[in-house]
Symmetry: C2
Subunit: 410 residues, 2 copies
């Protein structure tokens, strides 16, 4: 008897998370001898708990599927919910299982980051213990690129490319006036600096678009930064500074929070400055060096900008979803995640292999020392070799009268 | 005897100001029977005063010219200098004329906004009085679209498209969680709301991406805004608010400045909050309505983002430059600006005609009443009919390993 597919999305959006969703749908189509209908749960695991499922059958149409692939952000909505421990709350687990049974779900795919892998892990172990005939697969996703084991994570390449090409364009903009200035670009990534480090991709032999990079992996020292800014600004008109939102001092305290404490603001106003590490660094520089400064927060644009994304990223996100279905349906695997294994950098070659989802759940992969330059304000060739292939190619984007078209949940 | 061309750029950058530069170069090539070499002045009129000229001959190569067309921001650099009145400082004028003479310049093209048209106006009248054999043409440019007489201004279409497609993508991003929230997008345009109004282009039958629009043309009333946000947030999960940096209260005071005054900050810190109208509006909404809010400043991205720009805008910018050369060289005109005259909206047809540059210098064109909705928080069909054709088509962008390629001043 055929079993149905259920798929859901969780955590922060990316430019290509829907490409993984499209890959799961394509996988379902390719395995139609074993797969019946394809459903999506709205707002992640909460949608399963609440039985708010939608049919994804319309995406069996190739044009609709291609539109879904180019649509950034989570088509099915998202949630931030982490499943409770089984020992504490078995009821949640049994409710989920009853919804899955009600809809004859044989395969559940959960697209997300660390927390989502934790959910996939917990659920599949529960199902296995009860001998439930359901296979559960986590599909990796995050702009932070902080999932363990897998060489890299779908979503990272497109965000990295957005950061790099944004810096290139901002550098041209900033350079038009004669005045010396410092631009501070605040980039997402609270604990891992992969996305901030991608600023380095903006540099080439003709353009210095990322002069100084501050990663959360390197203890932030204001005096050393000021000295470095001063050094660079003596040699060139414009200093471009890429700063992770998660930089910390040598005691491990976030810089943005330090600054708030230092200013003695109370909680009521604290929210206005949260995520404001760029402004903190800006104040240090303008107060100490008297240079013209401007902070630009990329904010949520860096996780949802799909125009000029990475074609390789989009394709790999798709393949992660498609391989997830293959691993579950054809190979009968459960409690796994399709993981990327790099075979070579140049030419770039990669294969997708199943790994135990528990190996990635609740781990964080940080930028290793060999990828960070000696002075701590840049990256090494190792980093460039690793990241450069991930931003290659540009997906086709479909427009209508100049407005980009998207697939939308009705 | 052949005369040389000199071209310069001024004011804030746009995504297509270099397309106008490319158009001037193409015009020079097309009129090579009368035109000798093509020079650029670095940093606008200051580059003429200081005799810092560069050769643009390398752009006679078609590939180099195409790269220049896709390069955002001002290739030749910019300045904010306004020429002094002749009566006060004739020396500046005579210095400029001697540099022009030294390089055998017969045609000077100045690409810019209101102030640049003022410069073109003053210089050409001075040259005419002295019977100098030089023809001076202003080429229109500004994302603000606030130049008088011309139907619209090169640079506006691409910035408008960036604003609209940014809103569409942000709306998808914001909609993924279940929580109600308000996104405030702060958009450039200190006195004219054309660019902020373009947020409305993001809306279609499927997606409400710009729910409330606050233009500088409409006196800002906090109570009315709060009531409108509350009304919309009752009907839908996400409220998208597009706010011009230049909104003013009914007394004509800028809202951002009011807020600073209210907080009693001194000048030392005032700079940190300038342009912070988004944060002001955010505070009003979160304090009064208790909704989750997030402000996103598009900052300089809106004037330099070239990926997925408007092909029509790029082409028209090019034609403005090319027609400028034709008007000067073939038709013997001086003290003019190529102006856009719209012949029809649908199908869109436009012709380029020379007008006295004095007609646009120092005027500001604002969004007229017939384009603003009755409640003041949106636009009318007249606005959509006017703006929609300006964002059509997407230029080809040349990438190398995922990094967008640009022409750069060596």
């Amino acid at each position: 008897m055929k079993k149905n597919i259920l798929v859901a999305q969780s955590g922060g959006p990316t430019a290509v998370i829907n490409s993984s969703l499209a890959g799961v749908i394509r996988g379902g189509i390719e395995n139609s001898d074993s797969v019946g209908e394809i459903f999506g749960a709205v707002n992640g695991i909460e949608g399963v708990e609440n039985d708010t499922l939608v049919s994804l059958e319309r995406f069996k149409d190739p044009f609709e599927l291609s539109l879904l692939r180019q649509t950034p952000s989570s088509y099915l909505g998202s949630c931030r919910r982490k499943l409770p421990d089984l020992a504490e709350d078995e009821e949640t687990y049994s409710r989920i299982m009853s919804v899955l049974k009600k809809h004859n779900i044989g395969y559940f795919f959960y697209i997300g980051g660390n927390d989502s892998m934790d959910t996939a892990d917990k659920l599949s172990r529960y199902a296995a213990e009860l001998n439930k005939d359901i296979r559960i697969v986590g599909i990796p996703k995050t702009i932070d690129n902080d999932l363990a084991v897998t060489d890299h994570t779908p979503g990272y390449g497109s965000a990295a490319k957005f950061v790099a090409n944004t810096l290139r364009q901002l550098t041209l903009d900033t350079g038009v006036y004669k005045m010396k200035s410092v631009i501070i670009l605040e980039i997402m990534g609270r604990n891992a600096g992969w996305l901030t480090a991608a600023a380095a991709l903006a540099n080439d032999s003709e353009l210095s678009a990322a002069d100084i990079i501050c990663l959360p992996e390197v203890a932030f020292d204001p005096d050393r930064l000021l000295a470095e800014v001063e050094r660079v600004s003596k040699a060139q008109k414009t200093v471009m500074l890429a700063v992770s939102e998660g930089i910390k001092d040598r005691h491990g305290n976030y810089i943005a929070e330090n600054s708030l404490a230092a200013q003695g603001r109370d909680d009521k106003f604290a929210h206005a400055a949260l995520g404001g590490v760029g402004k903190c660094v800006e104040s240090m520089i303008s107060d100490s060096l008297g240079l013209k400064t401007r902070t630009i927060e990329l904010s949520t644009l860096q996780r949802c900008w799909a125009i000029g994304a990475s074609l390789r990223d989009e394709n790999e996100a798709f393949e992660a979803g498609r391989h997830g279905v293959k691993f579950a349906v054809r190979d009968g695997l459960t409690c796994i995640m399709p993981s990327f294994k790099r075979l070579s950098d140049d030419p770039y070659r990669m294969e997708i292999v199943p790994i135990d989802v528990n190996l990635t759940a609740n781990h964080e992969k940080k930028v290793p020392a060999n990828m960070i330059s000696e002075n701590g304000f840049g990256v090494t060739e190792d980093f460039i070799r690793y990241t450069a292939p991930l931003i290659e190619g540009e997906p086709t984007v479909s427009y209508q009268n100049g407005i980009v078209r998207f697939a939308q949940l009705k």
